[in-house]
Amino acid sequence: MYVIEIEDLYFSYDGKVNVLEGVNLKIDKGEFVGIVGPNGAGKTTLFKIILGFLKPTAGRVRLFGKDIRYFKEWHRIGYVPQRLSVEQNFPATVEELLRSVTTEERIREIASYLHIDLFMNRQFLKLSGGQQQLVLLGMALASDPELLLLDEPTAGLDLHSQMHITEILKDLSANEGKTVVMISHDIGMVMKNVDRVVCLNRYVCYFGDPEGAVEPIEDIFGIGRSLKDGAP
């Protein structure tokens, strides 16, 4: 049984242009998967379909072997969204946010695992980008999920924060047995850390080991031989 199983998935927002067409994907338990693709490739849309926020135009999605139309066990999934649109004077502290999703005991476990104990009483919006990502990851881990979906978790972070988040994700996958699926524009980081790469550009151009992903990535980004040559 796959954690995520997608068959011939189509999606269109307006009924005219397909954002996703014929997507097929099977992700196993404990895998660390990176999804890459240009802007507008349908990466976030794919996540929203997996999370049940959007209904597919056609095709089938199964989570833990169950058709998404009947899937109710959302506690098995943790999600870190791409961006938040909270009011600029949103006052909640880290502890209050975690308390809104889980128990005191679980908060202590998460805080100790992510080393966020030191800023539990600080307001979320007054934290650095890296600290905010850790809190969002903490909220995603609240229900001790088996599957983690992260939409650009390292975007806009400094190198140290990027490495810190990536190490945590690797640990969650390798040692905690969680399936981690991450959208990222940081191709270098994806190639270096994940078990498998999905190249998405409305359809899946490539799904496999990072070693074999170089050419498909060059193709979908239209960057010729730059990756092989070491250019950015």
Binding site: L51, F53, W74, H75, I77, Y79, P81, L84, V86, E87, N89, F90, P91, A92, T93, E96, L97, R99, S100, V101, N121, Q123, F124, M139, A140, A142, S143
Partner: protein, 266 residues
């Protein structure tokens, strides 16, 4: 303490405190859900409800509460599928409510003076039965926030995360709008239609300027509101001022002080 020796003042202060606290708590969530303007829309929609109850000769509180509840939920319904922008829907009920009241005034002569009394309210004229209705509504509002506090905090943070954590977004939005409608009707009793939305917006806005946590924002908003109600009623009593203006004036003065503190400290 001559002030407290009068029955009507005691009733006014009690009503004001309950209305003020309920409005302030609701205000924190409404502002953070970007629904601050809903208060102004619903209070003006309530004007239509008051006019209808006058015309039918029934108790204005209950019928207006039901009418505002209905209008608030219609606004939520038509904006939830994003076909109509939220601010446009609120503007629609804002003008619709006033239009309805004007029509009723035109058709049924003789209510004008009574109806215009609702424009500015008078908290010192609250009757014993109105106080009972306000008390019941106040406890219902507090109960709602006590039960759903954590879900509402999550909802104001991220609808997507809330949805995944089994928060029924649509139901929660409808309940929040229903509570806001009830609070608006209570506020009309205290400060009238024109100033009712201030009870929701100003103390909450003040609290969000200086609060260091969500819980403290809720507490500060309630305290600012309660303080302004007592100050306003005292000023109205001793200086023969309109209580509604004095209460909202007090709230705005506290907001000004908080804003200044924020500017100076940053």
């Amino acid at each position: 303490m001559e002030l407290l020796s009068y029955d009507f003042v005691q009733r006014g202060i009690l009503t004001g405190l309950m209305v003020g606290v309920a409005s302030a708590i609701a205000g924190v969530f409404l502002i953070l859900r970007r629904m601050a303007f809903l208060g102004a829309g619903l209070s003006h929609a309530a004007f239509g409800g008051i006019a209808i109850s006058m015309l039918l000769g029934v108790d204005p509180f209950i019928l207006t509460a039901l009418f505002t509840l209905l209008v608030g939920n219609i606004v939520q319904l038509i904006t939830s599928n994003r076909r109509v922008p939220g601010d446009a829907a609120i503007a629609l009920v804002f003008s619709g409510g006033v239009a309805l009241a004007v029509l009723v005034l035109g058709v049924a002569k003789g209510f004008s003076e009574y109806l215009f009394g609702y424009l500015f309210g008078n908290i010192l004229m609250v009757t014993r039965s109105e106080l009972i209705l306000v008390s019941i509504s106040f406890f219902l509002v507090l109960l709602f926030f006590a039960i759903f506090y954590r879900k509402l905090v999550l909802l104001t943070f991220s609808e997507e995360i809330a949805k995944l954590r089994d928060v029924k977004i649509g139901l929660m939005n409808h309940m929040l709008v229903s509570v806001a409608s009830l609070v608006i009707v209570l506020s009309i009793k205290a400060v009238g239609i024109i100033l009712a939305s201030s009870m929701i917006v100003v103390p909450a806005l003040t609290a969000l300027l200086i609060a260091s946590s969500f819980r403290s924002a809720v507490v500060i908003a309630a305290v600012v509101s309660a303080f302004s109600v007592i100050l306003g009623i005292a000023l109205a009593f001793y200086y023969d001022l309109p209580p509604s203006g004095a209460i909202v004036g007090g709230m705005i003065a506290v907001f000004g002080a908080a804003f200044l503190k924020r500017v100076l400290s940053s």
